[in-house]
């Protein structure tokens, strides 16, 4: 598939990275005025972008691009959004690769530091968290509440990034309006989060397959080398393959080296001493 990356100036004058297929006319990505699946005034709009997100080739570059795209489109499409960010949870903790405004990154980081908050809850529970802070009588997330208040943020919507049985993080929408997010906005954010999660799942599967491929290639090389070493021993000691393996593993144990190293050394002695 031919994929082009183009920078388009939107009505809001911020740069916007748009990935589209060769031959597509200039994409109209200003979806602020329309509902999620409605055609935008000046182009194919969100529906086409979603289709494109689903069909992207998977390299690190496009994964980063898709996540950026998801953040940007969410900010434009969820009308009461003041700031949008994306939380990714990895083995070494949560991080925010993309934020539309610094305030979103700040509020995400307060949550990571405290190890609690709406975006981490959406991720952990794999459920949408839609909270109007003034209306929420629970005492949860005190540090996050203080920080949100300091930034004038009054509502937050966090949608988990889930694909199959795996959760990757959350898409977070912050608003300065109280009780900001209605059903349509929740549905829109969920749609975009599902697209981003599908791309992440594909990228992870691709990386896992690549790593496995490399491991198997290495295993074949090793197996071949050990086969040669066993053959040498079978000839030299007039023994079978299992006995040859036992000789190699005893040498490995005696010298505390890997079997592969012992085998390589044995094969090298034969190669360096040609017959004749």
């Amino acid at each position: 598939m031919l994929a082009l990356t183009t920078t388009v100036k939107t009505r809001r004058e911020s740069t916007f990275v748009c990935v589209h297929s060769a031959g597509t006319e200039r994409s109209g990505l200003d979806c602020r005025s329309g509902h999620p699946m409605a055609p935008a005034d000046d182009g194919p709009g969100l529906a086409l972008v979603l289709l494109q997100m689903g069909g992207l080739l998977l390299s690190d570059l496009t994964v980063d691009t898709v996540l950026e795209l998801a953040t940007e489109i969410t900010e434009r499409t969820v009308r009461s959004a003041s700031a949008v960010s994306l939380t990714l949870v990895r083995e070494d903790g949560a991080q925010t690769p993309n934020a539309s405004e610094p305030v979103a990154r700040d509020l995400d980081e307060v949550q990571y530091k405290e190890d609690e908050g709406p975006c981490l809850e959406a991720y952990a529970e794999r459920a949408v968290v839609n909270v109007s802070l003034a209306d929420d009588r629970s005492q949860r997330w005190p540090a996050f509440r203080d920080a949100a208040e300091a930034h004038g943020i009054r509502s937050i919507l966090s949608v988990p990034l889930v694909a199959g049985d795996r959760a990757f993080g959350a898409l977070n929408v912050y608003s300065r309006e109280p009780a900001a997010f209605d059903g349509i906005e929740v549905a829109t954010a969920s749609l975009l989060a599902a697209q981003a999660a599908a791309v992440l799942a594909n990228a992870v599967a691709f990386a896992d397959a690549s790593a496995l491929n490399a491991q198997l290639r290495d295993a074949l090389e090793s197996r071949d080398l050990i086969g040669q070493a066993k053959g040498i021993l079978m000839e030299r000691e007039s023994c079978d393959a299992e006995a040859a393996f036992t000789i190699l593993r005893r040498a490995s144990q005696r010298t505390n080296r890997k079997l592969r190293e012992v085998a390589a050394e044995l094969v090298a002695t034969v190669v360096e001493r040609p017959v004749g």
Binding site: Q215, R223, E242, L259
Partner: protein
Amino acid sequence: MTATVSEILQAGRRQAGVTSQELWIRYYAIGGGSSPETIDAYLDGSVVPRPADYDVVAQALNDAFVGEDADHPIPYAEDIGL
């Protein structure tokens, strides 16, 4: 012997910090010929390996410890009377 073969292999696998798939790759890399499913069966105790095949699995685990402080901590078939 006090521990069963599967207990020894499971404990060794956990100590080495490898998944059962990674263990099979390591086993295959040093000449082991049984399938990944067979290695899983050794680990869960539903199949008891032949001594020669057990030794290849034990070696695959012991190789993972080379360079660590532990020196060949997983016993071989002759050590456990298999």
